[in-house]
Structures are given as C-alpha cells and as structure tokens.
C-alpha cells in the first residue's frame, strides 16, 4: 500500500465510525478492531484513502465500525472484491476482513489466488475455529474431534492450517497475533500494512459463545509467556517468563532448550529470518503446536516480490509507450476499412 507522507496526525478516533459495535460481550474481535484503528492512525493514511472490505460472518461486520470507505460484500468473496478495488485504484490502502469460514471454506479459492497474485491488500483473518454468526457449526480450522452443533459426535475432518495454505499459495507475508496480546497485535498489523503484497495476519480470536477458550491454552496471562513465542526478524527466538527458553534445530525439527543448561548459551539459539525466501524454517515455526513447542506470534514471513497491482500498472505504462492507439478514434483508425 501507499504510505502517503502527511502532516496530519491521526488518532484511532479518526477511524471510528458512529455505529455502535455489535459483537457479543467478551468477543475477541473488539481487541483486533481497536488494534487495527490504532495502526491505521499510526500509518498516516487518510480515512478517505482507506477501504475496508469484508465478506460475511461476525468479523465481516467490522467495516461498519471504521470511518473509512467500507464495503460489506457477500460470503467468501471479500478477497476478490478487495482485489478489484486495489487494481482499480492502487492508491487506496485496502484491508480485507475475513473469518475462518469466510476465508477458508466458501472463499478458499479467492484466498489462495489473491495470495498467489500478491495483490497489495492486508488480510486480517479472524480465526476462532467456529462459525459464530450461524450459531456454532465447525469450520475448516476446527480441531478434529471437536463437538459442535453440526458435529454432535465430534468432527471427523482434518483442519486447515492457514499458514500452510498461505505458504502453499506462495504468500509473501504471514503474521499471527493473539486477540488479548494488544501490543504485539499492533506490531503485526502495522508490519502487514507496510508490506507490499498480500499480507495475511492470522488473528487468533476467542468466540465467547460457541467456542469459548478457543485459544484459551494460550490466552491465560499466567502461562502465556511460556506458551507463546514472539518472533522478531533478526532476533534470537527466546521466550518464557524468565526469558531463558529458546528454539534450536534438532536434525530437521525444532526443539525447546533452556539457556544456561547443558552448556547452551544465547549464541546457540536460532535467529529469526522473516525475509528468507525459502519457507522451510518459517513453515516449521508457523506450524509449532503445544504443549511441546510454543505457538509463534509476530511476523513469521515478510519477503518482497512484485505486487499484482503494480505489475498491471507497469505493463500499462510499457504498452502505452509503444502503442499509437491513445484514443477511441485511434482505435477505429486501426480497422481494415472501406468507403461504401
């Protein structure tokens, strides 16, 4: 997206609409909305140069709560609409708000293709592992065996892992945040906004009604720092309440080690490289699961490649420089024509 230099200092309030926010009390979406509005203010892009596009679902109500241009479209198609908006006007800062059902079930095709094209949009994927708006059916990210209204005996489906899909579609940016972790959420969203290309941010959010504690294992404040690791480009992968745990390679796998034990020092700990073209280690980090390994948050992958919208513009400039056809009348002049 274009980060326009401007003298105006925006605040989060400039991005709040006059609409009353209607999510269930305790819903994780509130926290992400607040983080987003804070980031929008920090970015310095005017509300009128910002477009927020969504599909259908609880999280897809978000555009109503921002004061920018917004479009609440149809189920699953937010990625395609957002692509059209961005290609039509690349000067706009375009956000796509989507959920695990909207993005990965009905909208799965549009998701992988917008990621493949690397169109410069910022995708906030609210993953609560459940269908909330339709009142509690399992989604493509629901853990196998989970009991929901549409899986009374537990799901027998294998869930998607959004990072894997993103990398498989040749994604250039993937970050993860946890709703209650406000500070790191803002950092991840800001990095997504600054990345040129499709930025996928998996937002781990709680559904207080239909999947309470979806990410509860992580969310508990007491143990959070032992169960989460914040990945930062160029920094060693260290975590834990005492900041003494780290990640090392053990053959092709990752393992948790304790600094100071068995002669391990900080120098032995892996350093995060989000800009590495090769996804192998980033994939391993993104797919870490508890309790053996911490869950990764922060920017896991952030590599630069040409964006679709910029490539379209560049090709137009290139063709226009060579072509004699500038106007409709020029076009008519190219016809094989005769007088009658």
């Amino acid at each position: 997206m274009e980060t326009k230099e401007t003298t105006i200092q925006y605040t989060a309030k400039d991005f709040k609409s006059d609409q009353y926010v209607r999510w269930c009390p305790g819903c994780g979406d509130y926290a992400v909305l607040n983080s987003l509005q804070k980031v929008m203010a920090d970015l310095g892009v005017a509300p009128h140069d910002t477009a927020v596009i969504s599909g259908i679902g609880c999280s897809s109500r978000l555009p109503y709560y921002t004061s920018s241009y917004g479009f609440h479209t149809i189920h699953g198609r937010g990625a395609a609409v957002a692509t059209g908006v961005k290609v039509a006007n690349p000067k706009l800062s375009v956000w796509q708000i989507t959920g695990d059902g909207d993005c990965l079930a009905i909208g799965g095709n549009h998701f992988i293709h917008s990621v493949r094209r690397n169109v410069d949009i910022n995708v906030l994927l609210f993953n609560n592992q459940i269908y909330g708006l339709t009142k509690g059916q399992y989604s493509p990210t629901t853990k196998k065996g989970y009991v929901t209204k549409s899986s009374p005996f537990g799901t027998v489906e294998r869930p998607f892992r959004p990072a894997e899909l993103t990398f498989g579609a040749r994604g250039t940016f993937f970050a993860r945040l946890l709703d209650v972790d406000l500070k790191n959420s803002q950092t991840a969203i800001l990095a997504a906004a600054r990345h040129k290309g499709t930025s996928v941010v998996e937002c781990l959010v709680n559904c207080v009604i239909f999947n309470d504690g979806a990410h509860g294992w992580l969310a508990e404040k007491e143990t959070r720092s032992d169960r989460l690791i914040l990945l930062e480009h160029g920094k060693p992968m260290i975590f834990g309440k005492e900041a003494n745990k780290g990640l090392m390679l053990d053959g092709f796998n990752l393992k948790v080690v304790t600094i100071g034990q068995n002669g391990i020092t900080e120098a032995d700990i892996l350093v995060h490289d989000a800009a590495c073209q090769d996804t192998t280690l980033q994939m391993k980090l993104a797919l870490m699961e508890g309790p053996e390994l911490p869950i990764a948050v922060g920017v896991i992958r952030d590599v630069e490649e040409e964006t679709y919208d910029a490539a379209v513009e560049a090709q137009i400039v290139e063709v226009q420089a060579k072509s004699k056809v500038k106007t409709f009348d020029d076009l008519i002049a190219t016809c094989e024509k005769w007088e009658m």
Partner: protein, 615 residues
C-alpha cells in the same frame, strides 16, 4: 476470358468448409471483406467444429464459414448455400443438405480417395449418390492439393506449408466464379504476410493460379455477378464480429465517461473473445483481470465499480448462474456494472459452441429476493457496439447492474459496421456527489429518478459503508425495519422502471397496418426481418416489433402490441419472452414460434410459420 454466361444475383450464399487446419475461416473472411470493398452488403457466420481436435477428415473436425453477399440490404448469413466449397468428404457430408437445389459444389478431388471417404463414414465410393445430392447440383471437381503443389513447385517450401496454401487456390476459384478482381485479395495478403515475404509470394501465386484455373476451365457453369448495394448508407465501413463490437462499445463508454475500464472475467465459450479484445487494450488503460472463477470475475468488477471504475464482466449461461448472487449485491449496493451474457445452448454445459436465447428468464429473475436489474439485448454483430455502449451509459447514470444479452450467433458472426467517432456518441453523466454534499448518506438519491449518488473512495468527506444488508432509506445504516424494507424494495424497483423514460420507443418495421405482428428480441432480428420483408413482397401484411430493451420495456410497448389482432412471439427458447410479455402486456393472446436446436432460425421456416398463421 472464356465465359459462356454470367448470371446477375441479388444475393448469394457461399459456404467454405473443411478441416480445422484448412484455413476456411481465413478464406471466408478474405472473400467477404473483398466483396464488401466492392460495395456488397455482407454478413458472415463461422461454424466451429464441435470437438477440440477431432482426427483429420472426420465429421467432428469440420469447420465452416458462411458468407452472405447482397446488392441490397441483407440481414443474415443466409440459410442454404448457393456455393459450397468442400475440402474433404466429411465437409461434404456435413453440409450437403444445406446446399440449394441447383447450387454449386467445389471439391478437392485429391481429398476424395477411398481412405478419405472411409474417415467420413461413407459406405460407397460415390459420396454424391450416397448423400442423394440432386442431379441439378453443379459439381466443380478440382485437384486442389496437387494443383497447389505444382503451383508452388520450385518455391523450396516444405510439403506441409505448401498444402496449407490450398485454401488460397479455392479462394482464387471463388474469385473467378464471382468475377472478383483478385488485386484486393492480394492487398489483404500483403497486410497479413507482409513480414513473411516467402509466405506472401507463395500465397499470391496460389491465389492467382486458382483464379486462372477457373478462367481456363471452359465449364458450362455460369459465373455470378452481385452488384454493388445502393441501399447501404454512405460512409466508411468495416466488418466486425459481435464480440469485438461489444468490447469496443465498452471502450467507447469508458472514453466518453472519462472512467477507467475494468473487466473481471473467466474464460467461457462463446464469450471469451470479448476478454481477448479488451486484454489487447492496455494502451487505452483497460484493466483486464482473468479471475480464478466466474464469481471472482464479477466480484472483482464490483470492487472496481465501488472504487470508481466503469466495471464489466462477460460470460455465458453457466457463468451467469454462478454470478447471480453477486449481481444481487450490485443491485443492493446500487453500483454500476455491465454483465455481458453471450448466450449458448443450455442447460448445464449444454451446447457450448451453439446459439440460443435461453438465458432471458435467468437474466430477469435468476436472483434471490426482489432484485430488479436492467436487461437488454443486442440484435446484430455490429449493433453489439451500440448496446454495449448504452449498457454502460445506463449502468453509470442509473447506478444499477445492466445485463446485456448477446448470443453465439451474433457474437461470432460479423456484419458491416459504419465506423463511428467518439464525438458522435452521446455523453455519459454519472450521478456523482459534489463538494458541498458532504452530509449525503450511502442511500441518498435523486428523488425524481431514484438514482443513488456515487461517492468514490479517495474523495475526502464522503467516506461511507456500503454492502449487501438492507439499509435505512434515510440514514444508510443497516436496518431490518419492516416498513423501511418495503420502501427500499419499492425504491429499487421504481429506479429501474423509471429508466424507460430514457429509452427509445418501440418501432414497428414492415407493414404498419398488418394482419400479423411478429415479435422478436435480440439476435434473431436478421432472420425475422428477412422473413417479414420477403412475405410482404409477396403481398402479405406483416409487422415486426423487435425488442432490444427488455427490462424496463419501452414505454409504448403495451399501446403498440395492443394495436394488432394476431401476435406471434418468435424466439430461440421455449417461450421465455412470451411468458414475460404475458405478465406485462394485458389482454393480448401471444402465439409462439419456438426453436431450441442450438441453431438460428432459417428465413424459410419463419416464412412457413407466418404463412400458416395468416391462413
């Protein structure tokens, strides 16, 4: 020149037919264009093979191209052929029944060996007898392959390239048969092969030899003259296909409105040529996105419309079905959008390369909820330009999706097109918000036309939230209020209905005081008009009311139709427009003439139908 006789014809139909690789489309195009340059009216129709790559010489691989030339106004590519060029027995077999009695068949004797006859499924060694071809048919056997080979002897070309030129031999023969000077054909070849002098010389040599071969035949067959047409309005013309004309109509609207053109599209037969044509126009800033599916085709276009572009998507029947939910979004969000449906045979995958008018009710009603959209139809290859332009104008000025129906017949066919200039096209004036209107809501509208104001992202002070949920009429906030929903439903309907004030009146062609009113719509105009004119020449009184605007209907529709005692609706479906008219035009008995064979009407069958109705 040794010509025993020449016959003057008002119009003539020539069908070129052979294997996909025989170059019949090129031969036909060159012949029709050079005839047009000599002053004839032209109409053409390509008939593509039904199979992707059928084995050489088999029925499934036959590709055809029909050309209709006239010294007076002609409206169709013609029913049966006066002259058939058959490059092999399969081509003969496919087309034998559509050669006129007393017609001429030119065939390549080199391709009529036993093995060729076997491939085409002939049981005997005399295909003409086997097909029951009348004795009155005049045969011109010519060893096209070997004559082409000897023509190019010494050119140093490989045999494959040599044989590819045999279509030029047949073109030379046809030029002789119709007394066409070949200079113009040579000029076309210069344009086509200018960069490949070897191929140019070879093709010109074969063309000339074909022409001379005809001259030296000393046949008893008479050659033909089709005089210049004096009915064609003076002007500069080209020949254009409906799909190309559609693409160019969108481009013209983009230039006239000053808006960037965005096409979101997914390949589908027979609509894809529109995308091909627009993809070429990067020089005019046209943005074409080949989407991952039909739904992304239309939803990316809706995104572009939201962002302030002239947005379009093109498709055929199955694609229109996939787009229906998104069309509903464009209805609800009141965004301008052009949806072009090049109709083909259905349902399901149906007959992808064949023509039908079976998507009308889908276009009118195929959405959830009360979801009115503008529906219109083009009727000739050339007028696809006008109607694509008008579809854009209506979409932009009335903030609505517009479905433009064309079909495989006019999309792939060509007709003469008088070249327009941008200046002579009507202006396009979208209903934008202006400075000082910052308090408008997303639902604010012109109270007279009910057209919503358009605020484009990037404009300061006009931020708003649009979407597919029902909105409050006054505040634009989402609303489930019962009375408000009724008001919004009525408002959206009234907006569309009101567009009829801006449409031209329905015009009667043929005889005003008629005993029979023929009603048609879209791509059947040529056949209906030809049949009506022919019948009226014989002393009958028939009128034609042909519709291009379907929703809303022209405002004089009821008054015009009620003038006639007997009314027949002719369409290439089982009665969809008739059904629609019955619900919109009271107190009229609508008779029907329908055909659902993947083929256009023939003028002959229509005349027979009208004769029966007049009895």
């Amino acid at each position: 020149m040794d010509k025993t006789k020449t016959t003057e014809l008002d119009n003539v139909v020539v069908r070129f037919s052979g294997d996909s690789g025989d170059g019949m489309q090129l031969t036909g195009t060159l012949f029709s264009n050079l005839s047009a340059i000599l002053g004839n009216e032209i109409s053409t129709f390509p008939d593509f093979p039904s199979e992707i790559r059928a084995p050489l010489g088999t029925i499934g691989g036959v590709s055809g191209f029909q050309v209709h030339l006239g010294s007076s106004k002609i409206y169709t590519p013609g029913d049966d052929a006066d002259v058939l060029v058959a490059m092999n027995p399969a081509a003969l077999k496919v087309n034998a029944s559509s050669v006129k009695k007393g017609g001429i068949i030119i065939f390549d004797t080199d391709s009529f060996e036993k093995s060729d006859l076997d491939k085409a499924g002939f049981k005997t060694d005399n295909p003409f007898v086997e097909l029951g071809i009348s004795d009155a048919t005049q045969l011109i056997p010519a060893a096209l392959s070997s004559l082409t080979q000897s023509s190019l002897d010494g050119f140093g070309l490989d045999n494959k390239t040599v044989l590819r030129s045999k279509n030029m031999f047949s073109l030379g023969l046809i030029c002789w048969l119709f007394n066409r000077p070949i200079d113009q054909a040579i000029h076309f070849l210069e344009n086509k092969f200018g960069k490949k002098p070897d191929l140019l010389h070879a093709n010109v040599k074969v063309l000339t030899d074909g022409y001379n071969y005809g001259n030296n035949l000393h046949l008893t067959i008479s050659t033909f003259i089709v005089e210049k047409s004096h009915e064609t309005p003076k002007g500069t013309y080209t020949s254009i296909s409906g799909n190309k004309a559609t693409a160019w109509g969108l481009i013209a609207a983009s230039q006239k409105s000053g808006l960037q053109l965005f096409l979101g599209s997914y390949p589908i037969t027979p609509a894809t040529d529109i995308m091909h044509e627009l993809a070429l126009r990067k020089d005019m800033g046209v943005k074409v996105m080949q989407a991952e599916d039909e739904i992304a085709g239309i939803t990316s276009a809706i995104g572009a419309a939201f962002a302030g572009s002239l947005a379009a998507t093109n498709t055929s029947g199955p694609g229109l079905a996939l787009k229906s939910e998104a069309i509903g979004l464009a209805v609800m969000a009141e965004l301008p959008l052009v949806i072009v449906d090049v109709m083909r045979g259905g349902p399901s995958t149906g007959l992808p390369t064949k023509t039908e008018q079976t998507d009308l009710l889908q276009a009118l009603y195929g959405r959830n909820g009360e979801s009115p959209a503008v529906v219109m139809a083009a009727s000739t290859p050339a007028d696809c330009f006008h109607f694509a332009f008008m579809a854009s104008k209506i979409a932009l000025e009335h903030m609505t999706p517009v479905i433009l129906l064309t079909d495989a017949f006019i999309g792939n066919g060509t007709s003469l097109w008088k070249l327009p200039t941008l200046a002579e096209l009507p202006g396009i004036y979208p209903n934008y918000t202006k400075k000082g209107m910052e308090d408008v809501k997303v639902t604010s509208r012109d109270e007279e036309t009910k057209v919503r104001y358009w605020s484009v992202p990037g404009t300061e002070g006009f931020g708003h939230r649009n979407g597919g949920l029902e909105k409050d009429y006054y505040t634009g906030a989402i609303s489930t209020d019962p009375e408000n929903h009724q008001k919004m439903v009525d408002t959206r309907a009234e907006k569309i209905k009101n567009i009829s004030q801006f449409l031209p009146d329905l015009v009667i062609e043929g005889s005003e005081e008629a005993d029979l009113l023929v009603i048609g719509w879209g791509g059947t105009h040529g056949h209906l008009m030809s049949a009506v004119q022919s019948m009226n020449k014989k002393g009958n009184k028939i009128a034609l009311a042909h519709f291009n605007y379907i929703n809303p209907l022209p405002k004089n529709t009821i008054e015009v139709i009620q003038r006639y005692k007997k009314v027949v609706v002719c369409e290439l479906n089982s009665g969809q427009f008739a059904t629609y008219l019955r619900s919109n035009v009271p107190a009229v008995e609508f008779l029907q003439h329908n055909k659902v064979q993947g083929q256009p009407f023939t003028v002959a069958e229509l005349e027979e139908c009208f004769e029966n109705l007049l009895k």
